[in-house]
Point group: C2
Chain length 168, copies 2
DNA sequence: TTTTTCTTTCAGAAATAATTGAAAGTTTAG
DNA sequence: CTAAACTTTCAATTATTTCTGAAAGAAAAA
């Protein structure tokens, strides 16, 4: 199999994988493209390789930098900006977990907790049922939060080395 | 706080939370609505409460049943179908993990593995760099897959009780 | 069988999200 | 300072996803 074909397939697949998870296609594709580029790439390179406009490229590169998945790098003697992706997949995963935890999980948990203050507008039993449903979600959310926290602090091998033992 | 308000807020929030994760808004809202309903609800109920069309309601209910998150139930003496959601959040989480693992993670892993067969079209170093990137993703994917497998088999408390120890 | 009740389908419409590209803004070089 | 090189912005356009509602299909009742 040809290297160039494999890279193209990877970029396309990463794009559609991303959109299944609420990440826009172009952002995921740029990330994939930088992951399989050996050299830092310019905006022009990205526009040309992925056939996207300058505005689109700029916006999504910026968002990737924002997440901490991509860095600007200076290429000696060149004026324009170049970009490269973090290649260590474990670091990438940690960044994504950290960001989604902060941006989505934590606000959701606060919200659920605020809903537990219900105290009128229904029978005792109805209120209790609602509170229990919220409590289930809250507990699960807290556990997920703690698990993510653990992952962020743990070593690369945390998952398998400990969980496999657990299953046995 | 009023019970009815809390329920409405929950439905709305769950809908927008879902769309951040690639789940369509109405599907998430129907799920949320059934989660906070004490009685099984009919299609009519759902249409009315969420202000959605019959087609939309039908389609998303079916998809929820497909995932295993919602069941059809027979209400004594009634002809039409009623629906209720699984209320145990841990069961819900397991179902979602199982389905996404099957639908997305496993196919992605197969695909990445297929890309590791690259063997021409670049310098030795370039090919190696690509293969290493793929290997990183593959390893991470395999570990995630195993962790999910562990979760599916483990008890409710698997996350915290074991991972917190790990962090210390 | 015929009617009634309920469920499913799907083409078109509406809503939402992503993208373009030209213009404005910024930075560096001369 | 002025021009050139590069980056950012954003209104308008395009693409994608979701939703509607009427019609067709199915199942139960009469």
């Amino acid at each position: 199999m040809q290297l160039a074909d494999a890279k193209n397939q990877f970029v396309a697949a990463w794009g559609s994988f991303g959109s299944n998870w609420g990440i826009n296609r172009t952002m995921a594709q740029i990330h994939a493209y930088l992951l399989v580029s050996t050299q830092p790439q310019s905006t022009e390179d990205i526009m040309q390789q992925l056939s996207v406009s300058r505005g689109n490229a700029n916006m999504n590169i910026r968002e990737l930098i924002n997440w901490g998945l991509v860095d600007r790098v200076v290429v000696h003697g060149e004026r324009k900006e170049y970009f490269q992706a973090e290649k260590d997949i474990w670091k990438v995963a940690r960044i994504i977990v950290r960001e989604r935890k902060k941006r989505e999980l934590e606000p959701m948990l606060k919200f659920i907790e605020s809903l537990q203050q219900v105290n009128e507008g229904g029978t005792e039993a109805d209120i209790q049922a609602f509170q229990q449903t919220m409590e289930g979600i809250r507990k699960f959310g807290r556990q997920t939060d703690q698990a993510m926290e653990a992952m962020l602090k743990a070593e690369e091998s945390w998952l398998v080395s400990t969980l496999l033992k657990l299953v046995k």
